[in-house]
């Protein structure tokens, strides 16, 4: 029988050790080893060696092969003072890892030397609970949830499409939602604009939406922009580093303005539009796919393009299209799956059918083509009302 001290002393004879100073030098070296932190989660959360991976001592044997399949990869193991990691180093040697050393003195000595420490960002227990269904999905997980919390999405319009899109993005924990809308809540909005409510009649839509969304999720900050998007204010509004734009506007001039600005700023746009029973939804990813002008080079004459205010819309339709927009925005932020870039989905609520057509990048596109002829904002109202010139 051996005491703990005897066992530890024996263990240290059987493994290789380096000092924290040597370990720090190897952090900067070309054959940079992988630091493996075997401490408990609460110790890890208070700080760790930059670039280290975390496997608690208890899960080491079962997890290490998944994380480090290459058994000749140089590894430096550490814990708080170098004892738990001594046992861990011994075990990894027995498992066939050939280049394992223990960092003597551990993280306590590392910090005492004043070396860099990374404090990991962790979800609070409230967030763990709130986002538990996301954390269970491998494609999201804790890292993905942090990305969502860091993300900034700009919604054009807090109406039919903006309502469901903003509600789902807020619920998902997208940390910052900018909302551009100049209107106030009107009784005729409430048949479909579910981010607002009867007690908000007459209130600016951006403030009504802010109340609803921040009430739904306190992690979300809503930036209300009570303006109509124009050539004059678009640069100021886009200067705020948005990751994704969700376009739920209600007129052609704004659609073309959002398109041109997004191409020039390199911001992907999740585009949705609705009329009566029909919806269209796609993603315009600057550089990687077509833009709105590739899809529709010219707007139709006004008399052929009635708005929802003139032609009506089934109340639930924006719920379907706006929810697809939210889903696409989340995928873009998470960088997961296949986006709708290059594909236009057409939904018909009357027949309950979903069609898909291919949208190709137009090499002659005046904005995103090979030789662009439009390189600055134009008068979009005039562009959308002038008779077409055929060339």
């Amino acid at each position: 029988m051996a005491t703990y001290r005897e066992l530890l002393a024996r263990m240290k004879e059987e493994i290789d050790e380096i000092s924290t100073i040597e370990a720090h030098e190897r952090l900067e070296s070309l054959d940079r080893p992988l630091f493996v932190d075997v401490r408990e989660p609460d110790e890890w959360e208070e700080g760790h060696v930059p670039g280290a991976v975390h496997i608690t001592r208890g899960r080491l044997e079962s997890s290490i092969e998944g994380l480090v399949p290459d058994k000749v990869r140089p590894l430096i193991l550490y814990c708080a003072v170098g004892s738990r990691s001594a046992f861990a180093a011994k075990v990894l040697g027995e498992m066939g890892y050939t280049d394992v050393v223990n960092m003597a003195g551990g993280f306590v000595d590392w910090k005492r030397n004043g070396f860099d420490v990374t404090i990991p960002r962790v979800l609070s227990s409230e967030q763990r609970s709130r986002y538990s269904r996301h954390l269970l999905i491998p494609e999201v997980g804790e890292e993905g949830q942090q990305r969502l919390l860091d993300a900034r999405v700009l919604l054009i319009g807090a109406g039919g499409l903006g309502s469901p899109a903003s509600l789902y993005l807020a619920a998902a924990g997208v940390g910052t939602l900018g909302i551009v809308d100049a209107d106030v809540v009107d009784e005729s909005n409430l048949q479909r604009q579910i981010v607002h409510s009867t007690d908000r009649l007459g209130e600016p839509k951006v403030l009504s939406a802010k109340r609803t969304l921040e009430g739904l999720n306190p992690d979300v900050k809503v930036v209300p922009i009570q303006e109509r998007l124009t050539s004059e204010n678009v640069e100021r509004i886009l200067a705020d580093r948005w990751d994704v734009i969700v376009d739920g506007s209600d007129n052609f001039p704004t659609r073309y303005l959002v398109n041109d600005a997004s191409v020039w700023h390199g911001i992907p746009v999740v585009h949705g539009s609705i009329f009566r029973f029909e919806g269209q939804v796609t993603v315009f990813a600057p550089g990687a796919g077509p833009c709105y002008r590739c899809l529709f080079p010219q707007p139709p004459p006004a008399e052929l393009a009635p708005s929802c205010a003139e032609g009506g819309v089934l109340g639930v339709l924006p719920g379907i299209i706006g929810s697809i927009q939210a889903s696409e925005a989340l995928k873009l932020i998470l960088d997961r799956g296949d986006s709708l870039a290059g594909r236009l989905l057409l939904f018909d609520a009357l027949s309950t059918t979903l069609d898909e057509v291919t949208v190709r990048k137009n090499p002659d596109c005046p904005v995103c083509g090979e030789n662009p002829t439009i390189t600055d904002y134009v008068d979009y109202v005039e562009f959308c009302s002038t008779p077409l010139e055929l060339n």
């Binding site: 319009g157 109406g159 039919g160 499409l161 903006g162 909005n189 604009q193 376009d247 739920g248 506007s249 209600d250 007129n251 052609f252 704004t254 659609r255 949705g272 539009s273 609705i274 009329f275 029909e278 269209q280 899809l295 529709f296 080079p297 010219q298 707007p299 139709p300 004459p301 052929l304 393009a305 708005s307 929802c308 032609g311 819309v313 924006p318 057409l346 069609d355 898909e356 057509v357 291919t358 949208v359 190709r360 077409l388 055929l390």
Partner: protein, 64 residues
């Protein structure tokens, strides 16, 4: 495809003003033959076969 549109317009004359400009397909209408925009193929000369799925798609701007 051109023959099909001519036939449609003959049967529904009001469609003519929405689909055509000077006898050509209007630039704000997209026509897809089995998911492909005919402008990326042979325009109104694009052949249509039995079983092809045709979509006449107008641009829509509504969102609120």
């Amino acid at each position: 495809m051109g023959d099909i549109i001519d036939d449609l317009v003959e049967r529904y004359p009001a469609l003519g003003g929405q689909l055509l400009e000077d006898g050509e397909l209007a630039s704000y209408v997209n026509v897809y033959v089995s998911g492909e925009d005919i402008r990326t193929r042979d325009g109104l000369d694009t052949p249509v076969r039995g079983g092809d799925h045709l979509i006449l798609l107008p641009a829509m701007a509504g969102g609120v």
